[in-house]
Point group: C2
Chain length 208, copies 2
């Protein structure tokens, strides 16, 4: 048999589609899958823990990491940096562990560009009405913000073509099962392991 | 949600890797999956049933079907024709049923060419030694035939790159589960359903 590297799973999609819940449930069910932790220059909030919520960095450290090409993606939002450090992810992939990364859509595309082997999954709402209800149901936004979010969600859905897989997130358990199927099948893709397999049989033939 | 067409699953690989057993078990576990039945000009043998073992055709009928482009693939073996009729398969796919086709490797490549949406799965032996044991274990072939079959198996494995997925057939239940994962994930592929999904959301937006 052959050794299989871990997969980097990128979960993205418009806000309100339930990426976070799917990610949490998937991790609960798959204990050897690691969650990618972001680095940030923003200050820790109450209850947040270094290395679990975020890796907290000074602005200087973060910029040094940028210069050393240590991020799969990063962005600057309201005077703070947020980014996905490569090292922790690549270490796990090498060990054969899968890593899951929940990220907004611009970040997802940066990751795909930096690491094309990443498997990008677009989480879709079952319907636009359902999406609207979910955004309203959060109760954290003004009607104006809700309208803006809803309109941008439709524009975001049009970017579906940049992704490998889609999931209509209707029932979270079903979505988790679908991710499971995707991971399984990606590890059976000829394009990922062709050379390893042919080498394996060639080595064996020499011994026959 | 969107309507999903059925998938055409093509199982192939060197002889002795257990394609037939996997196919049988997969059909047992997935009652709505249809098995593709070949057409042939050879005479029915005892116990064989029209429409289950084969569709039995006269030479004239078969050649008329060839001329009408009614086969996904066909071949002439020892004065008899064997072929995979398109119509029965396409009718099931349209109804949303998956169809499984177990076929030797040249036929598999003809199918892929005629119907690129087919999902081609290469069944691998866990090892060459295991393959040899299986061919010997059948007890149906002379030592010379066994040697020939074994050597051609290695050459056939080198064609792996033409396939979408591989499965190391070690434990048949595991292989069946892997096919299940492949089918699941293929139905979540953006490239298959992008237009249908975008149309669905657009129609909904008009109603919002």
């Amino acid at each position: 048999m052959i050794n299989k590297k871990g997969l980097l799973l990128v979960l993205s999609g418009p806000s309100g589609t339930g990426k976070g819940t799917i990610c949490k449930k998937y991790l609960e069910k798959n204990k050897n899958v690691k969650l990618s932790i972001s680095a940030t220059t923003r200050k820790p909030r109450e209850g947040e823990i270094e290395g679990i919520s975020y890796y907290y960095k000074t602005k200087q450290d973060f910029e040094e990491m940028i210069n050393n090409n240590e991020f799969l993606e990063y962005a600057s939002i309201y005077d703070n940096y947020y980014g996905t450090p490569k090292k922790a992810i690549f270490d796990e992939l090498e060990k054969g562990n899968d890593v899951i990364l929940e990220i907004e859509m611009q970040g997802a595309m940066q990751v795909k560009k930096a690491y094309p082997e990443a498997v990008c999954i677009f989480i879709l709402p079952p319907s636009l009405l359902e999406l609207k209800n979910r955004i309203v149901g959060r109760g954290t936004e003004t009607p104006e913000q809700i309208e803006k979010r809803f309109n941008s969600a439709y524009d975001e859905i049009k970017k579906l073509g940049d992704y490998d897989y889609f999931i209509f997130n209707n029932v979270v358990e079903k979505s988790v099962e679908e991710i499971h199927g995707i991971v399984y099948s990606e590890k059976n893709k000829v394009i990922r392991y062709k050379n390893e397999i042919l080498d394996m049989f060639e080595r064996e033939l020499e011994k026959c």
